[in-house]
């Protein structure tokens, strides 16, 4: 399950005012406004996730390049390039193979990212695996914009420089037989400048993102959990003991929306020891003494009635954010 801003180790126990503001996941939340007037929340992908996605892509890319090279050299040996008395046809075939190799290497560097990011998912295989995608950055007024082909091209042309230039530095130094230490340091500095760039802006943009007007966001995972207010538990009736749980206004007034969502998570996770702990906490707050063993029914009843109370309040424009909210 995707981490939520309110998710911590024991969210129902320790929480102080203002905690939510400080959590990294919450700082990465952004909002765009679509043409339909809908506010869409987005989460900027974390830098670590992006690095992981890049690693996956690079490994796949290098494997692909190595395979191509091996297959081509295998064919070259097959037509007999090692033979010193090779005729003109063999030379022509060999020449073609070299051309194919040069073109493939160029395309691999430039087309891999381009091809996948232009697709409907807007993500390379690495990004797809790590659950992120690219999107167009909204304008200054927050209005959402389309991702254009030009933007994808621009951000990936810069990748060539950010990522592959250091390799070219070192290769150049090796070929010229000059000092590789100097080239190594130069490429390290070069690489560091571009790799650290995302750490110096709020949206974790790399240079290519700035030029293209894009950013990388978390791709939502679509799974709808079941509705919780179905069944007997929601009616306040325990299937285990047959007890009826009814909570008074004062019992429900102590908690707000934040606690409700924590409770929802606890119910969905369905871990007996956690539920027992939470039930105990709630009972302590409202001055009930319950036996153990029927926590799920108790919590379901409390959840449903608390939600009914809060949602009724919502309809009248009265919201209670959390237990510290005065109203």
């Amino acid at each position: 399950m995707a981490p939520r801003p309110w998710q911590s180790q024991r969210p129902w126990q320790k929480r102080k005012l203002g905690d939510r503001r400080g959590l990294p996941a919450n700082r990465r939340r952004r909002e765009i406004l679509t043409a339909e007037g809908l506010r869409l929340p987005l989460t900027i992908a974390s830098r670590g996730t992006r690095a992981a996605a890049l690693m996956i892509d690079l490994v796949a890319l290098i494997m692909g390049m190595t395979m191509t090279t091996m297959v081509l050299s295998w064919i070259a040996r097959g037509v007999g390039i090692d033979d010193p008395h090779a005729n003109a046809t063999v030379k022509a075939v060999y020449e073609t193979l070299v051309v194919i190799w040069i073109i493939t290497m160029f395309l691999a560097r430039n087309v891999w990212f381009l091809w996948f990011e232009l697709g409907p998912r807007g993500a390379t295989p690495g990004k797809r695996m790590t659950g992120i995608r690219i999107a167009a950055r909204p304008g200054r007024d927050g209005a959402a914009t389309r991702l254009s082909a030009e933007a994808v091209i621009a951000r990936n042309l810069l990748r060539d420089v950010e990522l592959f230039m250091p390799v070219i530095f070192i290769a150049g130094a090796l070929r010229a037989g000059s000092d590789t230490t100097l080239a190594g340091w130069a490429s390290l500095v070069w690489f560091a400048i571009f790799a650290l760039f995302p750490f110096f802006n709020r949206d974790a943009l790399r240079c290519g993102d700035i030029i293209a007007g894009t950013w990388v966001v978390e791709a939502p995972r679509g799974r709808l959990d079941s509705a919780l207010s179905l069944g007997d538990g929601a009616q306040g009736i325990s299937t285990v003991t047959g007890a009826h749980y009814r909570f008074g206004d004062a019992d429900l007034a102590i908690y707000g929306e934040y606690e409700l969502q924590v409770l929802e998570r606890v119910l969905r996770d369905d871990r007996p020891n956690v539920m027992a702990e939470v039930a105990e906490t709630i009972c302590g707050k409202i001055g009930w003494t319950n036996g153990t063993g029927d926590e799920r029914a108790f919590l379901e009843a409390y959840y449903t009635q608390l939600r009914a109370r809060l949602e009724t309040g919502m309809r009248f424009g009265k919201r209670k954010a959390d237990k510290f909210d005065g109203t």
Binding site: V161, A234, R246, L252, E311
Partner: protein, 369 residues
């Protein structure tokens, strides 16, 4: 105590229950099973959700199909229904934000809205559409939009050539700095006319031309992408790169001029040079364009200015890579196969004329749109 909570619930149901039902009727299709399940839900917000869940799931199915690139597997009804389903989901989300506290529903709807938005408002045209727009005027329009930057780049290139010439003319040692000597290269100061002449002519029998062309392309494309990409450092690196590259040209011109081979060298260079130097000019212009937009964004935010310039420059750069393919073919094949100065010059000038016409005279389909 215990009755008051239920009392409130009851009031809630009576008070706005009627409104809720009419809204539900407007937004949902008649789905018997879903309605039956909805009756069993204790909360009105869950009933709202269960009545619409079928439509959401249908939308999710369509969106997943499109994301997977299997748009062909979708039925016509689904494709027709997509915009309506999308709008319905959008209004569901707006209502849900005001009425439900179920984090699962809200999270699902927000995720679905985001995915559907990317699909409905995805890249507006496929590859074919992009291809037609690019060659049908998009490329030349982008080139024209960078007019001032191309002029700057042209000035820098001319200046670089002149500087290269003057430096070497003043002190021939500069030649070795500008063009680091490579093994087997006979193009050095003090070389005789015959030696220099041999580098320009008489290579028609040479083999390995295609490899040469591919290498040239790979190398030149790398340099021009560098030229463009470094533009974001306020345009300074592209200018330096242009000066460096054209400095070599100036040095070469001086060398051949000394032996009275200027026109022959220009012919030799122009076969591919008009295309290649034009491409480098455009790449440098694109880099300067971005640098200028970032240094002087005007009334726009600097990031917006950079993005706008970057997208335009990316269009130009796509063209530059294609031009370099053409240049490499000309350099690898045509230059070796055509062994006289006049046809070489004619070919070079024809290419130059073609590019100038295409970029500056051709208004294409863009004007008609």
């Amino acid at each position: 105590m215990s009755t008051s909570a239920f009392g409130r619930l009851g009031i809630g149901r009576l008070g706005i229950g009627g409104l809720g039902e009419t809204l539900g009727g407007l937004f949902s299709r008649k789905q018997g099973a879903a309605i039956a399940a909805a009756e069993a839900a204790a909360l009105r917000s869950d009933r709202f959700r269960l009545e619409r869940e079928g439509d959401w799931r249908r939308l999710e199915h369509i969106v997943s199909r499109i994301e997977a690139g299997r748009i062909g597997g979708l039925s016509d009804e689904d494709l027709v229904a997509l915009p309506a389903l999308y709008r319905m989901m959008v209004s569901s989300l707006s209502v849900a934000r005001e009425t439900t506290l179920d984090a699962a529903t809200l999270g699902y709807l927000e995720g679905l809205a985001q995915r559907a938005w990317f699909v409905v408002h995805g890249p507006e045209l496929g590859f074919r559409g992009w291809f037609l727009r690019f060659f049908g005027g998009g490329w030349s329009a982008a080139v024209r939009a960078m007019g001032p930057d191309i002029l700057i780049a042209l000035t820098v290139m001319i200046a670089g050539t002149v500087i290269g010439w003057l430096l070497v003319a003043g002190n021939p040692d500069w030649f070795y700095t500008l063009m680091p000597p490579q093994a087997g290269d006979t193009r050095l100061p003090g070389a005789s006319r015959a030696v220099l002449h041999a580098t320009l002519f008489g290579k028609t029998a040479q083999t390995g031309l295609s490899v040469f062309a591919a290498q040239l392309f790979s190398n030149n494309a790398g340099v021009s992408i560098l030229c463009f990409a470094l533009g974001f450092a306020f345009g300074v690196p592209p200018i330096l790169l242009l000066v460096h590259n054209t400095g070599q040209l100036g040095a070469l011109l001086w060398l051949y001029h000394g032996q009275g081979l200027t026109l022959d060298l220009i012919g030799w260079l122009s076969v591919h040079g008009t295309t290649e130097l034009f491409a480098i000019l455009l790449a440098g212009g694109a880099g300067i364009h971005i640098g200028r937009a970032m240094a002087f964004p005007g009334t726009r935010a600097i990031l917006d200015a950079a993005a706008e310039a970057g997208r335009r420059a990316a269009t130009v750069m796509t063209g530059v890579v294609l031009m370099l393919v053409v240049a490499a073919l000309l350099e690898g094949f045509a230059r070796q196969l055509i062994d006289a100065t006049v046809p070489r010059l004619a070919l070079g000038l024809a290419m130059l004329g073609w590019w100038l016409t295409y970029f500056f005279a051709y208004r294409g389909l863009v004007g008609k749109r």
